[in-house]
């Protein structure tokens, strides 16, 4: 009972803190004008810009919905391809020794290059369109997927394998029924990192060169000096990032057995 009341107390403090934060922000900008509007837009202005941008194409040529859709399409497509390739590849690398020997050094060479570094190469290869972004995101998503599925499979308890072998399970059966379920939580942790990396990389790719998307919107906002638009875009990007990780957390709880 006491614990519950304490929890409630802290929740109230949290709400007050957030409200105070926004209130002070509003006071500093709109009411007292202590900070110039050009450097820090007020919360009210940001909400206004958000509502305005829902239906208006100024100054970058698309409404907010189109930017969001473009970014979502690119990042989800790249993420799905990257994870779809990366997880099986990681499992194969961990399961088949020859495969591992062949790919490991190559993978170790490519792994430390930040995905952002690939943006110019892919721009040269595929131009400004959707392909260049998707390929960069595939690279961003594939690396954590491979690393985690690899170490997840390697974590398998050898005793389980021996028992299965003693009872005459085939290699494929061991992989399907023991190794992959054991690796489940690790693989999911990898997918989570992949998703995060996809979103970050997408924003970077759109900042460098694109004609649509959230990253492009904030870049244009900067070029025309509309800091309210930039602020709003940054918050929307953060909001979708939070939404993704919440959705994935829910999926993880449903699919993965055991684990955390």
């Amino acid at each position: 009972m006491k614990e519950k009341r304490e929890k409630q107390k802290y929740r109230i403090i949290s709400v007050i803190s957030l409200a105070a934060f926004i209130l002070i922000w509003e006071l500093l900008t709109d009411v007292l004008h202590l900070l110039p509007e050009k450097k820090l837009p007020s919360p009210a202005t940001i909400i206004e810009t958000f509502l305005y941008k829902l239906t208006n194409t100024n100054p970058d040529g698309s409404v907010l919905g189109i930017h969001i859709l473009t970014s979502l399409k690119e990042s989800i497509l790249g993420f799905c391809i990257g994870v779809g390739l990366g997880v099986p590849l990681g499992i194969c690398m961990a399961w088949f020794e020859k495969f591992d020997m062949f790919f490991k050094p190559l993978f170790d060479l490519i792994k430390p290059i930040p995905p952002v570094g690939w943006v110019p190469v892919m721009l040269m290869a595929f131009g400004l369109g959707i392909m260049s972004k998707v390929t960069v995101i595939v690279i961003a998503a594939i690396v954590p997927a491979i690393i985690n599925s690899y170490s997840g499979i390697k974590q398998m308890n050898p005793v389980h394998k021996w028992v299965a072998q003693t009872f005459g399970a085939s290699n494929g059966q061991i992989l399907r029924t023991i190794a992959i379920p054991t690796a489940g939580p690790m693989i999911f942790a990898g997918i989570r990192v992949s998703l995060n990396a996809s979103w970050v990389t997408l924003v970077a790719a759109e900042l460098v060169a694109s004609t649509k998307g959230l990253g492009y919107m904030i870049q244009m906002g900067r070029m025309v000096g509309r800091i309210d638009l930039v602020f709003m875009g940054v918050l929307v990007i953060g909001g979708f990032g939070a939404l993704f990780s919440a959705l994935l957390g829910m999926a993880e709880k449903k699919i993965v057995k055991g684990g955390r």
């Binding site: 802290y10 709400v15 803190s17 020997m101 930040p114 690939w118 040269m124």
Partner: protein, 262 residues
């Protein structure tokens, strides 16, 4: 037994080299045969370009100079964000009140990728080094806070209870129990945030700088000189690898008890 291990080792080396050779061969053939070749250099052109760039300047300085500039930028932003992140994380992890006050605001900032701050930072600080430092700072900050906070929250309550029974003061408990048990968490935060920092510096340099590895890559693209571009990527990869290995060695040294426990 020894012979078995030896043949396995040679096999690993052989297969690994084969893998890299196949990759280089595919690259070479792709450049020679397909449309890819009109824009992309062969591996040999890149290698000779790298050798040349070590002595001849590209833009403001040589290849090593660009790497050094990027590294120094990362260092400034990274050190600042690590200190600030660890402090905020400690406050949020060790004090329930601190967490209640700071968490809602932190939750707004947390999911925003460091790179998304670039346009804002340019509007705030112009296009100088301050912007790049700021981007690196926000890039690593959230990771650092979350890891340190997890460390401070996972302190063994029994240890704290014992210390209380034995009459230790609150600040002594913090210094002798909470802080040491956070160290491994802080270290994993330091590792993650170093690689995010290295990525953030690239993106920031691509957009606002006139020197550094990120600039090398982007200017290579803009001037159609893809040798510079690929060179930049290779040096970034190498530096990233060196940084990560360095952190792992440091961790082994400084948190030996944790490593052994795993």
């Amino acid at each position: 037994m020894g012979a078995v291990i030896k043949t396995k080792k040679t096999q690993t080396v052989l297969m690994g080299t084969l893998g890299i050779l196949v990759f280089l061969a595919v690259w070479q053939i792709a450049v020679l045969v397909t449309r890819f070749g009109t824009i992309f250099p062969t591996p040999f052109e890149v290698l000779s370009g790298m050798a040349k760039a070590v002595v001849e300047p590209i833009g403001k300085t040589t290849l090593l100079g660009h790497v050094g500039i990027s590294l120094s930028r990362v260092l400034v932003g990274y050190i600042l964000s690590s200190i600030a992140g660890a402090l905020v994380g400690l406050v949020m992890g060790a004090s329930k009140l601190g967490k209640a006050v700071l968490n809602p605001i932190f939750n707004i900032i947390k999911p925003i990728p460091g790179i998304a701050w670039i346009p804002l930072a340019i509007l705030w600080f112009g296009t100088g080094n301050t912007t790049i430092y700021f981007i690196i700072f926000v890039g690593g900050f959230a990771q650092m806070v979350m890891n340190t906070m997890a460390g401070a929250e996972n302190v063994s309550q029994e240890l704290i209870g014992v210390a209380r029974v034995l009459g230790l003061k609150k600040n002594r408990i913090f210094l002798t129990i909470v802080l040491p048990s956070c160290v491994p968490y802080i270290f994993s935060g330091l590792q993650v945030s170093l690689s995010t920092s290295w990525m953030a510096v690239l993106a920031a340099e691509m957009i606002t700088a006139t020197s550094g590895c990120g600039w090398l890559i982007l200017s290579g693209m803009q001037s159609g000189n893809m040798v510079n571009n690929v060179m930049g990527m290779i040096s970034i990869g190498i530096v990233g690898l060196v940084l990560a290995s360095f952190m792992r060695i440091m961790e082994r040294r400084l948190c030996s008890w944790k490593e052994r426990g795993q």
